[in-house]
Amino acid sequence: MKNNKKLNNVGIFLFFGGPSLFAFAVVFLIPFIVGLYLTFTNWHIINNDWSFVGFSNYVDVFRDKTFLTQLEFTIWYVIFTVLISNFLAFFIALVLTSGVKGERWLRAGYFTPNLIGGIVLGYLWQTLFSRVLPFLGQQYGWTLFETSWLTSTDKAFWALVIATSWQLAGYLMIIYIAGFTGVPKDVLEAASIDGANKSTILRKIILRLSIPAIVVCIFLSLSRSFLTYDLNLSLTKGGPFGSTELATYHIVQKAFLSNQYAIGQAEAIILFVIVAVVALTQSYLLKKLEVEV
């Protein structure tokens, strides 16, 4: 009888868990472990040699000046994208939750850029930056736009930041709106009866009480922008002169175009560790400011 029950349990486990666990193992788990091991070998596609080389791939990554410059570039891109998209999203959400006509449609409208993927997003902005803005610049003498931003090494950076923030802001706005709706109305009323002005209410109450939403939004925008690939590919293709290659773009090039799989994988793992550390630190620090209602 007991044996029968055990057999039955195995059957239940395999029926309900089998297919997903198999897919999870074969698509995620095994590649993850193989990937970790790969970084300690000198595997190369030509000789298919798997000899163990210790940490030398990681040492190589930190000796690679291009990777370090691109990492620095990525970090600046992340900083500006996170700041701009969160400020925009926070502001739009704040106004939208304070009683605007047609709130539902406005919310849906601001979200629209998130329906399109990175490739289309990049080409959309590419035509704007390379054709429409220079046309306006020349027509009306706006020197800022006279030449295409995508051909200048500094301005191409801002093109990336603007295109990413444009899309992210609508996404984060949705989360901020959910956060603001969680702020109890009676607390706000009590504060305004006590004579608190608008900026005090914003700083001391709304901001403090929506920290969970802020944590989620910063976490999301951080990890998304750190791992940007499609947009980079279609908007600037890393150019001009390789000046706008973000970290993921670099890794893909390294692995699949120069066949340096082991080093590319080591870079991917370093990038992952950076994202994880930054994201966890920010949520730890912000959570300390959180208050209970």
Partner: protein, 274 residues
């Protein structure tokens, strides 16, 4: 209270003007998709002289739109269905059976959600390439299932925890088996979370570029993002058809969004809070 009314009007205007500026990139692309390349280069902000669909016909044929659309559709539909079905089952298993192995597996899936795809892509391509499994839509669908399962299991787990067990117990007394109880009683109750997950996964799979670009090698297998990329790299200066191509790729999701607007917004909210 005139001051208050004034500020309300100001707020409304600000939001609507803001929205128009926000959506300007879309409007410009739509406008220019009806112009000849020549006219576009001369004046990219002018109104089209006559609304001609020739760019659309041109782009439709050159980028092999139909094939890309069907490939994307097949991959998205099957990917999403498999993720939903199997992660609902596994979420159910993890909630209703508190076995040690289940706890360990659930924890592993939670941990997996923090790992970005970039960490997996190189070994994935290597392993599947060695086995000769690349360039197949079926394999790609299976990969989406593997990558989508953790979030699915996590969301179903949270939802099923809140469903009382009594309904299921009475169905066992009536002599129903475990699988039958799941499909007839539990699964219909999961509808809200199914919609949420479907929204998140459709947006992800439909728009994904990196994974299909690594897996699908032959032109016949291209998804829409892949054919958009191929089209743009080939016809870099032919702006008219390029604009039309952009509009055509956006339209399918836009239609779905207009129909399911509230679900999309709700799905994003719930997906983020969880």
């Amino acid at each position: 209270m005139p001051a208050r009314r004034f500020s309300a009007i100001l707020k409304n205007t600000l939001m609507y003007v803001g929205l128009i500026i926000f959506l300007l990139p879309f409007l410009l692309v739509i406008l220019n998709s009806f112009k000849t390349t020549q006219h576009f280069i001369e004046n990219p902000i002018a109104w089209p002289k006559n609304f001609s669909f020739s760019n659309y016909i041109d782009a439709f044929q050159k980028m092999n739109f139909m094939q890309g659309f069907i490939n994307s559709l097949v991959i998205t539909v099957f990917g999403v269905l498999l993720i939903i079905l199997f992660s609902a089952m596994t979420g159910y298993l993890f909630v209703r059976f508190k076995w040690k192995v289940n706890k360990v597996l659930f924890f592993m899936m939670l941990a997996a959600m923090t790992v970005p795809f970039q960490v997996i892509m190189i070994p994935l391509v290597m392993l599947y390439g060695n086995l000769g499994l690349l360039d197949s839509k079926t394999v790609l669908i299976f990969m989406y299932m593997g990558f989508g399962i953790p979030l699915g299991v996590f969301m179903f787990h949270g939802f099923i925890k809140g469903i009382s067990y009594e309904l299921e117990e009475s169905s066992f007394i009536d002599g129903c088996t475990r699988p039958r109880t799941f499909f007839q009683i539990v699964l219909p109750l999961l509808k809200p979370i199914i919609v949420t997950l479907a929204v998140l996964d459709v947006l992800w799979i439909w728009n994904d570029y990196l994974l299909p670009s690594l897996v699908l090698l032959s032109p016949g297998n291209r998804t829409l993002p892949l054919s958009t990329y191929a089209f743009f790299s080939t016809y870099t200066v032919d702006y008219g058809p390029l604009m039309a191509a952009l509009v055509m790729t956006i339209i399918p999701v836009l239609i779905l969004y207009i129909i399911l607007q509230d679900h999309v917004i709700k799905g994003i909210t719930e997906g983020a809070i969880k």
